[in-house]
Symmetry: D3
Subunit: 336 residues, 6 copies
Amino acid sequence: MKRIVTFGEVMMRLTTPGHQRFTQAKGFEATFGGGEANVSMSLAQFGLEAAHITRFPDNELGQAAIQFLKTNNVSTDHIVKGGDRLGLYFLETGSSVRPGKIIYDRANSAFAGVEPEMIDWEKVLDGASWFHWTGISPAISAGAAACCKAALEVAYAKGITVSGDVNYRKNLWQYGKSAQEVMPDLIAKSDVLVTGVRDAAEILNIYPEAGADNEEISVYNKIIERFPNVKKIVNTTRNSISATHNKLSGNLYDGKQFLKTREYEINPIVDRIGGGDAFLAGLIYGMHELEGDQEALDFGVAAAVLKHTIEGDVNLARVEEVQDILAGDTSGRIKR
Amino acid sequence: MKRIVTFGEVMMRLTTPGHQRFTQAKGFEATFGGGEANVSMSLAQFGLEAAHITRFPDNELGQAAIQFLKTNNVSTDHIVKGGDRLGLYFLETGSSVRPGKIIYDRANSAFAGVEPEMIDWEKVLDGASWFHWTGISPAISAGAAACCKAALEVAYAKGITVSGDVNYRKNLWQYGKSAQEVMPDLIAKSDVLVTGVRDAAEILNIYPEAGADNEEISVYNKIIERFPNVKKIVNTTRNSISATHNKLSGNLYDGKQFLKTREYEINPIVDRIGGGDAFLAGLIYGMHELEGDQEALDFGVAAAVLKHTIEGDVNLARVEEVQDILAGDTSGRIKR
Amino acid sequence: MKRIVTFGEVMMRLTTPGHQRFTQAKGFEATFGGGEANVSMSLAQFGLEAAHITRFPDNELGQAAIQFLKTNNVSTDHIVKGGDRLGLYFLETGSSVRPGKIIYDRANSAFAGVEPEMIDWEKVLDGASWFHWTGISPAISAGAAACCKAALEVAYAKGITVSGDVNYRKNLWQYGKSAQEVMPDLIAKSDVLVTGVRDAAEILNIYPEAGADNEEISVYNKIIERFPNVKKIVNTTRNSISATHNKLSGNLYDGKQFLKTREYEINPIVDRIGGGDAFLAGLIYGMHELEGDQEALDFGVAAAVLKHTIEGDVNLARVEEVQDILAGDTSGRIKR
Amino acid sequence: MKRIVTFGEVMMRLTTPGHQRFTQAKGFEATFGGGEANVSMSLAQFGLEAAHITRFPDNELGQAAIQFLKTNNVSTDHIVKGGDRLGLYFLETGSSVRPGKIIYDRANSAFAGVEPEMIDWEKVLDGASWFHWTGISPAISAGAAACCKAALEVAYAKGITVSGDVNYRKNLWQYGKSAQEVMPDLIAKSDVLVTGVRDAAEILNIYPEAGADNEEISVYNKIIERFPNVKKIVNTTRNSISATHNKLSGNLYDGKQFLKTREYEINPIVDRIGGGDAFLAGLIYGMHELEGDQEALDFGVAAAVLKHTIEGDVNLARVEEVQDILAGDTSGRIKR
Amino acid sequence: MKRIVTFGEVMMRLTTPGHQRFTQAKGFEATFGGGEANVSMSLAQFGLEAAHITRFPDNELGQAAIQFLKTNNVSTDHIVKGGDRLGLYFLETGSSVRPGKIIYDRANSAFAGVEPEMIDWEKVLDGASWFHWTGISPAISAGAAACCKAALEVAYAKGITVSGDVNYRKNLWQYGKSAQEVMPDLIAKSDVLVTGVRDAAEILNIYPEAGADNEEISVYNKIIERFPNVKKIVNTTRNSISATHNKLSGNLYDGKQFLKTREYEINPIVDRIGGGDAFLAGLIYGMHELEGDQEALDFGVAAAVLKHTIEGDVNLARVEEVQDILAGDTSGRIKR
Amino acid sequence: MKRIVTFGEVMMRLTTPGHQRFTQAKGFEATFGGGEANVSMSLAQFGLEAAHITRFPDNELGQAAIQFLKTNNVSTDHIVKGGDRLGLYFLETGSSVRPGKIIYDRANSAFAGVEPEMIDWEKVLDGASWFHWTGISPAISAGAAACCKAALEVAYAKGITVSGDVNYRKNLWQYGKSAQEVMPDLIAKSDVLVTGVRDAAEILNIYPEAGADNEEISVYNKIIERFPNVKKIVNTTRNSISATHNKLSGNLYDGKQFLKTREYEINPIVDRIGGGDAFLAGLIYGMHELEGDQEALDFGVAAAVLKHTIEGDVNLARVEEVQDILAGDTSGRIKR
């Protein structure tokens, strides 16, 4: 059975047109996205079965968000309705030396009001092969953190592979608990972890071994030692030359091997948002459909690279398109 | 001295393009509006000095709102900065038998967090000839209600004319107090009241005199009796034939005379929002610049009629344009 | 079980923006529609389960069409992939005395190449309560006609209610058979027929009884006599005052009673396309959910009226919105 | 030989989008138009050969104007290049009681600098059946007036039918001569005159005969008496109910008969500009292709009515479309 | 006499806006193009007389296509009307590593139905200096191939220089004949051939001489030997770094000399389509107006480079602009 | 007191959308700009008090221009109303090797008609810390030159620092005087001069000292010698790789030291216009708020670099954003 379940907030994204700044905009382009749903939608685009769990207000904006997931072939059967408002974020796209800018307006969203009793994880995860969460959800509210924990417990019990993207954003944690208190329990139940040296230090108080040959590996080893359920640690290395020109490669450590991919050049970047989610979706696809970790990692990075050329949060690349990149064709020649 | 001060929330308005429904929209047109600020902006367009007091978040969206007021020539010198978010409302414009639809997203806005100590009304109202408030502000939060009350006390002490638009919306009152508790004190300090028979019954428990010749007048007499500072009660009569075809006239009762205007036909309506604010701005203009109440009332209704032909919340009609309507030219012939 | 299945072509609709003529357009708005799928999508919007059967090319345009159906909550599980191209139609919207104009470009579409063996009607219609077809499909190609016939046979065998919209367009019949040859077999297996006096004459050679009190009824009686499975004949009466101003009412004859609705005024019309499909969807909804034929007919006409105020082929009105119209509120007052 | 030649300024028209006012616009739609060229372009659309003479600056804006004429099938072979700038006009479209507004920015245009020696009228008018001018050209500059006069002399000598649209706009006459001085010589050489009672009074000092049965006819008789070359006087009667709702009919007096047309209702108006030019083009078409003056007049008015439903200055209606209106079909039913 | 005649299909091009994928598009930008007409339009832009021969359906879309050619100053006098539909192609523009994508929808077009008896080549080519065809036309249908052959015979008889762009696309050849059967006869009557080593192998079965110093030249020599009327073989060398970054240079072999140009860097590419047509138009311009083959080749490549910065299929560069590039100014400094 | 006053023309800028050429545009984006007002608006964005002096026509376009300045927080209190038209310029944005193109349409503008008696410089400059002019104003008309001179005299008398951007454009000088006659008097009263070697030669007849170590410094020394009030000479060095890729650095000479900045890479450029004005605004900001000339120069160049990434003439960068660039962060990473 290949069925991936993701859990997290989906926001309406309101983007200023073209290169306009917030104070210039007389309108916004509207789409929807969220780190976990982006993974689901990309996997559905790759042809796998995917379901997303979230909570939306019972109004037309919540309805529009559901329709967006449906359009992208993700199951919305278990989405909870209720609460007051849809979370939003406003985006001003950067260019060259000018960085992009996000203004979040997600406080008191329907998702922030989610509570464990609203979701029957036994049912939701029935038949699932993979569950994916990120560190954003437990940062949003105690209820969202509790839902996340409940999901991980059921997934663990069912033997479902779990991936967690630590993604620590300090200023999100406003409801009275800290990441340092909440995250370790969630990390402990994850099989694949997206994290890096900075996250390890800030959340887990894990620092590189003094005098280590490879400081990065020394940190990852400590993580795996502390959380024995964690089997793989993955992330991307991004070289930001400018807002519109990045270089990207991927890394995977399984406690023994430190795998790396080639570095891709992305210039110009069409839409930077969702690049990391596209990487993870590619990796999960690879772990379902390809032979080894290197193949999965390569697929993840090539998928992430393509995402940067696509408007919106979601990677609309198809498997064949990722394969073309993997096969070395980054020439961009028109397909007829 | 002719200087009008208004107080109230200004929201970003996100409108679906053309005739699109919320679930069809891939973008929104963005503008700003709020019942009280709409009055200020219309008065500034008429050439009077106007200032608006509100609270905006200290981010680019708050900055954009300030710039919108500046563009419309309203003083923003006393606007308070702080709080978390800008209030929003989403608008789907109606057509023919299909009504327009508004989804408010204003809870926990910067304005809802306004507190009396943030505004120095002595300074703000210094040299003002008129102060305008509506029943929306005291419905938003205890703090906003307290600010409103504080403003009215200073205005009363300074002998500034006060207009209040009762505008009762039951579902807005969520913070623990009811309109029935809060509004009477505010009404008591107002000189010109925009209200009608329904508001009087619901908020003030005032009902038509049994057997009265004119039930409406009997209600207004009771209001004036109970609130002796109220000198004039005004409102409009709107005949809604469809979302795009209305007829509009105005009424003013001063305790003795019940003045009425001619009825105007508006077909098609370009933008229905802000019609009442445009009426009040026209009336306030008339009370500053024209001879009598009938003239002011006529000006107010003609202004309101023109507003329906203008995109956005704000009446961008100029005095001469209102005068053309008043002079009977509703033929719409091109001006060269 | 309430599950409606529809069968027919879905085309991409390319509309000139605003009031532009074909020769002015530098771009087209794109959406999707087709008489039968429009019925499915409206029913899904009303909350009923709906599935549409068609054939799309296996390219991104076919994919976009599928996503459009998904967005509108219609099951696409049984859609066939294959063939060369997606059918298209170009639309120039009329205004006032200028009529709208459609240029069809649907020849050799994927749907035209549909063949009976591509669709397993036993499976498709399993658990269905209703099947809907129109006279467009049998006009497109011998294969489409054969599919239609196969569906009707299975539906008849399963006791599924069948509605057929005769919708005779002479110039569509190009593949060697005429409507006069093909349609009678299909009509014979239908329970509810959308047709009128003109269709009856042209396709069935049925003319009003000389000297009949009510010529219309005399025609319908002859149809019912000839096709005893037909239980109800329905249609709308449209009074076209201009391209943007119509009056609409509905009729239903069940062999005994000739039911009529009130006449609605629609001015301005936002989008005329799909009005008849919206009527039928409303009627089918009513026949599933409401008490009697009059209620179903009333619901159908009110639904059709609302459709005229909505962009695109599909009626995005919700049940409550239709109910408001039925309750007599056509004032278009903003809902907050 | 059926070949119509027109002479006059063509301006770029910059229109605010939708219903926006000038101070709201963040952009303008751009097209081209001018009273005389509009006649040519409409005639070319009707299938007659048409050429327009004007002067454009030798830059890309002049080039764009030429391409616009070419697109509309008008010969641009004799257009003069030179001068500094293209004339412009800014347009804010009216709605309901709000009138449209035009800001001209045409002073010092390339056309204003046209001089008689730049145009070889013998060559330009070779083989022409009709020449059309308006009172705008002689108002623009002494050079344009002289060109107009030169054209009329050549046309007169060649026996070409001449139509002149008097179109008196007092504030255009800024170069030192008055319409009263310049126009009589031009009128004297015209066969068909578009004018009315107001123009006759203001330019020709001709007033209704005291006690005349029909004051209008008494004025026209005086015009014909004074200018014996004038054979027909035509104009339209426009009943402006609002900016978006007009009624229109036409009139033609030939010294004996006073012909009238039916009155058409136009609601809503899409674009009011160029309605008069469309009328004249229709009339000229009728005088080339139809039997009598009544037929030509009817065609002219029906053409003008259609123009009001079309964006831009130019009537893009085809002959068959005008004929449909003439045949009484103003129902706006979609053509498939 | 300098008059260039081109023959081939013109399609409507429907492009997704910005960077949108096909499944994201809610609309398409519409323009027109075709390999041969693009050459005509570019030459007309350079000031030469150009005529294009094709077949369009007799509807508004065909009319719009004609108007597009007229706008671009190409003679449409000999265009044939008839057939059912206008050929279309849908374009998704690539970016960075994501390639552009074209979906053709040109089967059964009006052009595919062209037959030799519809075109009087004697008349069409009367006074022409150059005739241009491409390998697309003979691939479309037997009729189009026959027209091509007929044109070449008349051109040959009249001594008109002929250029042919071999442009082999295997999947276009669907009507029963192969390129290998049809093309040699057409190549034999051409003076200037756009082709390369791959085309020569696939269509002509010509392969590089084993052990040749320069394999390319060895192929070209064999072509010239086999088709003695061919005097020059030209093409471009494109280095595709990404969809938005290419390098371009040009080559010309006349049987003796192998001329090359400098290599230009194009970054970013605005619109890749029509680059080859722009090259050929530049070369043809150069062969009419410049001194030698090197000058013509240089002009062709510089023209092609500029095309990549212009929206649409057509090179709207003027001669002076190409000359600036040739003079080495690729700095892009604003011209005032 | 920190209050900057600027004087000069503000034009409406009409830009073709995207990459369209003038002849492709069916509309224009509209904004406002002018070299001197751009400086004011940028300084207001940096938080300093700024006022702009100009003359606008008393119509809605002039009103829109005033509103644009207000929106950008610049005082419009001293703007003169009158004259016939607003100056315009049309812009086609370049890309890669294709240069941008400007068509000016500013002759006979309201500003060209400005006369010294219209502006009370004593009042305007009261309390000012800085006055800025450019060489465009004295080029426009004798009146504008006289206004400039009058302003400089008052500024000099009041001890206000004066910056002048020489910006010599030969073809602007059309009113009978040359830059050689007019500019020296204006330069003589300036403290900070934006100029370079080319301007010095063309306007001041100053050439590099033969055999100088540094030719540039030798020219600047001669300028300072001839105009002893000039204390600093500044400019930028722009390396134009293409229309969308530039490198930029800045220079300042104070008679002793020749300061330089690092060179920044800008790729892609969003909007090239106003880059120089942004530099000067940054420099003036720095001279008001930062420690030394090097800091001011660095701030100016970083500000100019950011401007290239912002749409429109005006640098909407905030101080913190410039500081981020100065701190070396040109990575464009999204700010959340």
